[in-house]
Amino acid sequence: MELIRPKWGWYWGIWTLMGFYMATWDLAVYPSASILRLLAMNLVQNWIWGFLGLFLLWLANRWPIEAFTWSQWRVWSLHLVASIAVAALGLFLAYVVSLLVQSADWKEPLTLTMLIKGLPRFYRSYFHTNLLFMWAVVAVFHGLRIYRKYKAREVEAARLETRFAEAQNLALRMQLQPHFLFNTLNSISALVHSNPEGADEMISRLGNFLRTTLDAPSEQLVTLRRELAFIQDYLAIEQVRFGDRLQVETQIPAELMEFRVPNFILQPLVENALQHGLADRPQGGLLRLRASRDSEALILEVQDDGEGFVPGREGVGLANVRARLGLIYKGRHRMDILGAPGHGTLVTLRLPLDLPGEGHA
């Protein structure tokens, strides 16, 4: 039983309670009968039913009812037939027990004829009640099963949410790379003397950059326009720092600007491209940012002409982008990293267009 951890104490407890309950019922009908005898009879009967109910539980565990649909008719029929059979057998055994108890008062021994004589009346009186018991067994089993499944799903959802928050937290922390921040401040302290206008510009760029980072919207998706504005502040700062060593080419058609993308999704890719395409090469490099679309997807490309991505050496940034895309798009996206040694790296994201709350161009 993978979903139901058996709680046998409860199972037998309930059958025992039923025995007590039915003993009081019999007492109401036959007030002159011995209480102890009625109790003993009903307990034995209910325990027999409990024992037979195990078979129904085994069946239910083996072939559980998954849905209230016609496609499940075989399973429904199986449980219907099984419960009728178990109820019938259980009732027969209960009848035998009741006769044995009664025959203790009689002078003559119990015979087959006597047994058969009273049977139809016994079935007419009790069969439907007994069948209900057996259905209750199957129903409680399925009720518990659905509850456990629901709980498991809830735990799973909570775990996804935690991972989501972790990914977001990491993404945010990546914006505030201390190295980037302190180098930028250092550049500003040089510009203050040589190019006050440039220093002014740089301070406002850095301000915008930090503001975007700190005011990160709580929703996961922002417009491409907003994401690009953030990237452009970042790149403008890097261009002042690296001068001629950094060339940037952007091709983003205006009609794609309102499409929504996960926030900060481009920044780790751009940062990676700069690190491998530029920071690691004295002669500098070229960074290309492109966006396009086809009928199903928005396609974002970040390309550098650096050393080329080595498969299997995926850093925190890329892994985080991958994890976040997986959580948001649940496999309906694609992320491809194409690297050629000495010829740079191309990262392509294909993001589905039909997300709920999607903006339209």
């Binding site: 921040l181 401040l185 250092n186 040089a190 002042v240 530029l278 920071a279 090469r281 004295p282």
Partner: protein, 250 residues
Amino acid sequence: MSLRALVVDDESLARQRIRHLLRRATDIEVAGECANGLEAVQAIEDLKPDLVFLDIQMPELDGFGVVEAVGPNEMPPTLFITAYDQHALKAFEVHALDYLLKPFSPERFHQALDRARRWCGQKSAEQGPSLEAVLAGFRQEKPWVDRLLVRQGDRHILVRTAVLQWVEAEDNYVRLHVEGTSHLLRQTMTGLLARLDPAQFRRIHRSAIVNLDCIKEIQPWTGGDHLVIMRDGTRLTLSRTLREQFGDWL
């Protein structure tokens, strides 16, 4: 007495900043500027500056790579500059070497400069802070290199360890075999092995280290030795005594 200084940083604005601050120090003249580690190694050997302003994060060969290439004992008094590097800072703190954190104030810069002046004034290298100890400390944090600096004629080039196929011992040198060519490096086998990532490089013989990615096959050979055949066809010996490290493979 005027001190000749070399300014090394890959960002031109950062070099400009130091130049600007040095205008107030009339006893220091900027002898040269370098935009990367390789240029810096060359300039230190050519210009023999009295003082080096050395940025730590630079493309290809970083500040520590420069010290290592020049040799900690041959390195002039050095003022390290960094924006952020926890490994480096730890090494500096442990060995009480002064350093500058970007962005720094003029006061802080001149304070560090005063200390560097005193260092330059020391008659012998032993009296100054030990670069060798700092380098050793830094290596503990980051033991493996991804590039090796080798001399080719009168200039230096960098060899990426990823393209290094195997290394051969040659007297007091090691010969680095890369595709189509080889380079001599003044280094011992043990010294080099300590700097190479053991996930990629293993010593297979007294006189050979191989890049595991470049092995094509390994065959049993005589006397418990094995024959290692490299992708380019080179045949090397895996000696019996070093065989255990390939335990899972053989």
